[in-house]
C-alpha cells in the first residue's frame, strides 16, 4: 500500500496502451516506473545513440521527436504520449532525437515489463505498433493490419455465438425426393445436405426447393434427390463471423450457408447456418431491414427504417465491424430506400408511364461512391433515352416530374435537399444520354474551374435503378475522350493537390480558424477529400470502369501500380478509418460528422487519425510526379 504507486497508476490508466491492461498488470507496472525530470532543452536521447532499456511516457510537459540531421520535427509528444519504442523492437540505436520542449516529467518503463504484455495483449500490441507506424516508418504497418484482422475485433462475434449451430442432416444423391422429405420432417429441419460416398457435400435441398419443384409438380416424388438439389453448396470456414455470413447471405441471396472444415466442398460439413439463425442472432438484422424496405412505399415508414439503420450502424461501429462490410450493408439500404421512393412515385404519377429500361437514376458524390454511412444531402441525377414521337421538352418534363416527387420523398426519409441543387429535379441534371455526353464533353475538353468542382461530384455517378446501358455508355464516352483531355486531367490533379496534409508543424491538427466550426477539425475537407480526389483521378487516368468506392479504388490501384502498392493500401485503410470517425461523430452529435474537436479525441484516436494523414502526402507526391507539377506551377 503505497500512494505513490496509486498516483502513477491513476495517471497511466487514462492513456492507451495502459487503458487496455488489466488492473493488476497496470498496478505492477506502475510500481516499477522510473520518474525523470528533464528541463526544457535537455535531451532524453539522441539519434544514433544506443537504445536505452526503457520506453518513455510523457507525464507532464512536452517532448519533441526530431531528425536533427535533416532538421525536421517528426512528432511532438504531450501528456500521456509514448515515445522511444525502439528498444521494444530490439533495435540497437535510436533513429530520432527526443528533446524536452518544455520542462517535463517523464515516466520510464523498463522494456522487460512490457514485452510479455505485448505478446499476450493484442490491443496493447496494436497500439504500440500504431504509435510506431505513426512516428517512425511504415514497416510495422502490415503487422498492424494482421493484428487488426486477427484480434482487434474481439466483439466481432464468431458463429459459435449463434444460438445453436446445427449439425446438417445428410443424405446420399440416390435417395428419392420422397425419402428425403420424410427424413427432413422426421428430423424437423428445413434443409438437407446431399453428400457423396466420402461424406463430402455435393448439393443442398431446402424446404423451398421441395415446395417449388416437387409440390408444384415439376418433379416426381420418386425422382432422385440429385435432380432437385442446388449445387454446388456455398460453404464457409468455421472461423467465419456472423457479419461475414450476413454479407454472403445478402449478396448471394441464399438462405443457407454450410460450414465445412476448411470452407470448401472438399472437406466434410460441420454445421449449417440459416438466415433465420442470423435473424435470431440479432433482432436488428440488415437483411430484415432491407426486406421491410422492399415492402414499403410510405416515406414515413422508410424514415423509421432508416432510423433503425442508424441504431444498427452505431452498434456495428462500436464493435469495430469492418468498414467494407458496413458500406456494403448501408449502401444497399440507402439504395433500396431510393428504389422504394422511385417505385412509389411511378404509381403516384398518373399522367406518365415509366419504364426502367428507358432511364437510369444515378447517385452522385459520396452516395455514388457508396460511402454514405449516415444520411447527408441528396446528390443525384437522371439519364434518360429520348422517346420516339415525343419532343425533347416533353420527355424532360416526364422525368423532371418523377424527380421532383422522388427528391421530396427522400427529403421526408431524411436525406436533405441539396443546397447546391445538384439533384435530378434540377433540369440541368435531368438529361438525355446525349445531353449528358455533351455536358461531360464540355467539362472535359474545355474545362474551367467550376467544371472541375462539378466533375469531382459527377464523375462518381453510380446507377441506382434503371438501365445499366446508359451509365455504361456514358463511361465509355468519357474514356474515349479522356486521352485528349490533358488540360482537364491537369486541372483535376491540381485540385487534388489543393488540400495539403492536415497537420501543422507541431503535428497538431489544422483546425478551422473562424466561423461556426472554429477550432474544429474538418475531417471531410481536410482528410477525406484529398484521398477521394486522388483516388478518382488516378483510376480515371487508368480508365478503370465501374469502380466508385474510394478504398476499392485504392485497392485496385495497388494491383495495377505495383511500385506504389504500399501507399495505396495504406490510403485505403486510412480512408476507412476516416469514414468510421466521421460516421461515429455524426451519430454521436446528430450532424454530418465532418467537424471533429481534436481535444475530445483520446490518445488512441489521435494517433490513429494522424496515421491516416500520412498517405495524403505520399499520394500527392505520386500525382505531382505523374503530372509533372513541379515544372508547371
Amino acid at each position: 500500500m503505497n500512494e505513490i504507486i496509486h498516483r502513477v497508476n491513476d495517471f497511466l490508466k487514462d492513456f492507451p496502451p495502459f487503458t487496455y491492461m488489466d488492473k493488476e498488470t497496470l498496478f505492477t507496472i506502475s510500481g516499477k516506473v522510473i520518474v525523470k525530470f528533464f528541463a526544457k532543452g535537455e535531451f532524453i536521447y539522441k539519434e544514433k545513440e544506443a537504445t536505452h532499456e526503457f520506453i518513455y511516457v510523457v507525464n507532464k510537459g512536452a517532448v519533441s521527436i526530431s531528425n536533427t540531421e535533416k532538421g525536421y520535427l517528426v512528432e511532438s509528444c504531450d501528456e500521456g504520449d509514448l515515445f522511444g519504442l525502439r528498444p521494444l523492437l530490439a533495435d540497437s540505436a535510436y533513429v530520432f532525437t527526443a528533446q524536452a520542449a518544455e520542462d517535463s516529467i517523464i515516466f520510464a518503463i523498463h522494456v522487460s515489463y512490457l514485452k510479455p504484455i505485448l505478446k499476450t495483449n493484442p490491443k496493447v500490441a496494436l497500439y504500440v505498433a500504431s504509435v510506431f507506424a505513426g512516428t517512425l516508418e511504415k514497416r510495422m504497418h502490415s503487422n498492424v493490419s494482421s493484428l487488426n484482422a486477427a484480434s482487434f475485433d474481439p466483439s466481432l462475434a464468431g458463429i459459435e455465438n449463434l444460438q445453436d449451430l446445427k449439425v446438417p442432416v445428410t443424405c446420399d444423391p440416390h435417395s428419392t425426393v420422397h425419402e428425403v422429405a420424410q427424413l427432413m420432417t422426421a428430423k424437423n429441419v428445413n434443409s438437407i445436405i446431399v453428400v457423396d460416398v466420402n461424406g463430402l457435400p455435393i448439393g443442398i435441398v431446402t424446404d423451398k426447393d421441395l415446395r417449388e419443384k416437387v409440390v408444384a409438380g415439376k418433379v416426381k416424388k420418386k425422382a432422385a434427390i440429385s435432380v432437385v438439389m442446388n449445387s454446388p453448396v456455398y460453404c464457409m470456414k468455421p472461423s467465419v463471423t456472423v457479419a461475414e455470413l450476413q454479407i454472403q447471405i445478402i449478396r448471394r441471396k441464399i438462405s443457407h450457408v454450410l460450414i465445412t472444415e476448411d470452407g470448401t466442398v472438399e472437406t466434410r460439413p460441420v454445421g449449417i447456418v440459416t438466415n433465420q439463425d442470423l435473424v435470431l442472432a440479432e433482432s436488428n438484422n440488415p437483411a430484415i431491414i432491407i426486406k421491410q424496405i422492399r415492402k414499403t412505399r410510405n416515406p414515413g415508414a422508410l424514415r423509421h427504417l432508416r432510423d433503425v439503420t442508424d441504431k444498427l450502424l452505431t452498434y456495428y461501429l462500436d464493435r469495430e465491424i469492418s468498414i467494407d462490410y458496413l458500406t456494403e450493408i448501408i449502401s444497399e439500404i440507402n439504395d433500396q430506400i431510393i428504389k422504394a421512393c422511385i417505385r412509389a412515385s411511378f404509381d403516384e404519377i398518373a399522367q406518365y408511364q415509366y419504364n426502367e429500361d428507358d432511364f437510369t437514376w444515378i447517385a452522385l458524390g459520396s452516395q455514388g461512391r457508396k460511402e454514405q454511412l449516415i444520411r447527408t444531402d441528396q446528390d443525384n441525377g437522371i439519364i434518360y433515352k429520348e422517346e420516339e414521337g415525343k419532343s425533347p421538352e416533353e420527355t424532360k418534363l416526364k422525368y423532371l416530374t418523377l424527380a421532383k416527387l422522388v427528391t421530396q420523398k427522400l427529403a421526408v426519409v431524411g436525406y436533405e435537399l441539396c443546397p447546391a441543387d445538384m439533384m435530378a429535379s434540377n433540369p440541368k441534371w435531368c438529361m438525355s444520354i446525349e445531353e449528358w455526353k455533351q455536358t461531360f464533353g464540355l467539362w472535359i475538353l474545355e474545362p474551367g474551374q467550376e467544371e472541375i468542382l462539378h466533375t469531382s461530384i459527377f464523375l462518381d455517378y453510380r446507377k441506382i435503378i434503371g438501365s445499366p446501358d446508359l451509365t455504361a455508355e456514358l463511361t465509355e464516352y468519357i474514356f474515349s475522350i479522356i486521352d485528349r483531355a490533358t488540360g482537364f486531367l491537369n486541372l483535376l490533379a491540381k485540385s487534388a493537390l489543393l488540400n495539403p496534409p492536415p497537420l501543422t508543424f507541431f503535428r497538431n491538427f489544422v483546425v478551422e480558424r473562424n466561423g461556426e466550426h472554429k477550432d474544429a477539425f474538418d475531417i471531410k475537407q481536410r482528410a477525406m477529400l484529398p484521398l477521394a480526389d486522388a483516388a478518382r483521378l488516378l483510376v480515371l487516368v487508368r480508365k478503370v470502369p465501374k469502380l466508385n468506392n474510394t478504398p476499392e479504388r485504392f485497392r485496385k490501384l495497388a494491383e495495377i501500380d505495383a511500385p506504389n502498392k504500399d501507399v495505396y493500401l495504406m490510403a485505403a485503410e486510412s480512408y476507412e478509418v476516416l469514414m468510421r470517425f466521421k460516421a461515429k461523430t455524426g451519430l454521436a452529435t446528430q450532424s454530418s460528422g465532418r467537424y471533429i474537436n481534436p481535444n475530445q479525441l483520446d490518445k488512441f484516436q489521435r494517433v490513429l487519425l494522424r496515421n491516416c494523414f500520412e498517405p495524403i502526402n505520399d499520394l500527392q507526391q505520386i500525382i505531382k510526379l505523374r503530372f509533372q507539377f513541379s515544372t508547371i506551377i
Binding site: 503505497n2 500512494e3 522510473i34 516529467i105
Partner: protein
C-alpha cells in the same frame, strides 16, 4: 555559514554521541566514516526525499503516524524503491484520511514503531535528506531515535522551501519572502505539479521530489551545480 550547516546545527545534528550506539544504528553510522567529497555534482549526489505525518505539531506529546520517501539517484526516481510506512496502532490523521479513502484496507495495518525507524534509516543511508519544511519532520525522527538510545541523523539536509526562496531572492533578502507562497501547495501550483494524493506522507514526498528536480535544474542554470556551492 552554509545553508546545510545552519540547518543541521539548528536541528542539533552536530552533537557527538556520548553513549554507546545501539546495534541498529551502527551500519547507518558506518556510512558516514568516509569523508564526503564536497565537489560532488548536485546531479550526481544521492537524495532521500522524505515526508512524515504526525498526530499534531507538539514535539512533546505528538507522534509520527506515517513516513513516506522516494530516492533520487542518477536523476531518477525509482518508484519501486519508494517507501510508505504506517505506524501500527495510530489513528490516521484527518489530513491524510481523505486522500487515503479507497486505498486503505479495512483491517488494522502498519509496522511497529521500531521496525519503521530501522527501515527508515536504512532507506536514508548517507543520502542527502530533502524535504519541504523538513525541520519538524527531522525533529520528530530524531526524538524517535533518542527514544531507542540512538544519536540523531547525520545526513546533510536540503529544504525545498528554502531552496526556492534562495532562487527567488538571489540577494538573500529573505525578509521579503511571503511564507504562504512557499507551501507545497503553492509551489505545486507555481510549477504545474498536479497535487494528487497530497497530504499523505508518501504522496507529499513524491511531489517534493518532483519539485526538487525542477529546483536542481534551475540551480544548475544559475551555476550552482556542486554540493559545496550550496554553502555559499
Amino acid at each position: 555559514m552554509s545553508l546545510i550547516k545552519k540547518i543541521s546545527e539548528r536541528l542539533g545534528f552536530s552533537q557527538e554521541p556520548k553513549l554507546p550506539v545501539p546495534d541498529f544504528y551502527k551500519p547507518y553510522m558506518a556510512l558516514f566514516e568516509k569523508k564526503e567529497d564536497e565537489n560532488t555534482l548536485l546531479s550526481k549526489a544521492e537524495y532521500a526525499i522524505i515526508d512524515s505525518e504526525a498526530t499534531g505539531l507538539d514535539l512533546e506529546k505528538d507522534e509520527i503516524i506515517s513516513i513516506g520517501g522516494v530516492t533520487l539517484i542518477n536523476q531518477s526516481i525509482d518508484i519501486s524503491q519508494s517507501i510508505s510506512f504506517y505506524i501500527k496502532g495510530r489513528k490516521i490523521s484527518d489530513r491524510e484520511a481523505p486522500a487515503l479513502h479507497g486505498i486503505l484496507p479495512d483491517q488494522p495495518f502498519g509496522m511497529d514503531e521500531f521496525s519503521a525507524l530501522e527501515a527508515l534509516i536504512n532507506f536514508i543511508g548517507n543520502k542527502i535528506i530533502v524535504g519541504h519544511y523538513i525541520g519538524f519532520d527531522l525533529k520528530m525522527i530524531n526524538l524517535l531515535l533518542k527514544k531507542y538510545g540512538a544519536p540523531p541523523l547525520k545526513n546533510k539536509v536540503l529544504d525545498t522551501a528554502e531552496l526556492t526562496k534562495r532562487l527567488d531572492f538571489p540577494l538573500r533578502n529573505y525578509q521579503f519572502a511571503v511564507n504562504k507562497e512557499y507551501t507545497l501547495d503553492a509551489l505545486c501550483a507555481r510549477y504545474g505539479v498536479i497535487p494528487k494524493a497530497r497530504h499523505t506522507a508518501a504522496g507529499d514526498a513524491y511531489i517534493t521530489a518532483i519539485l526538487f528536480q525542477k529546483l536542481l535544474s534551475d540551480l544548475d542554470k544559475k551555476g550552482i551545480s556542486q554540493v559545496k556551492d550550496l554553502k555559499r
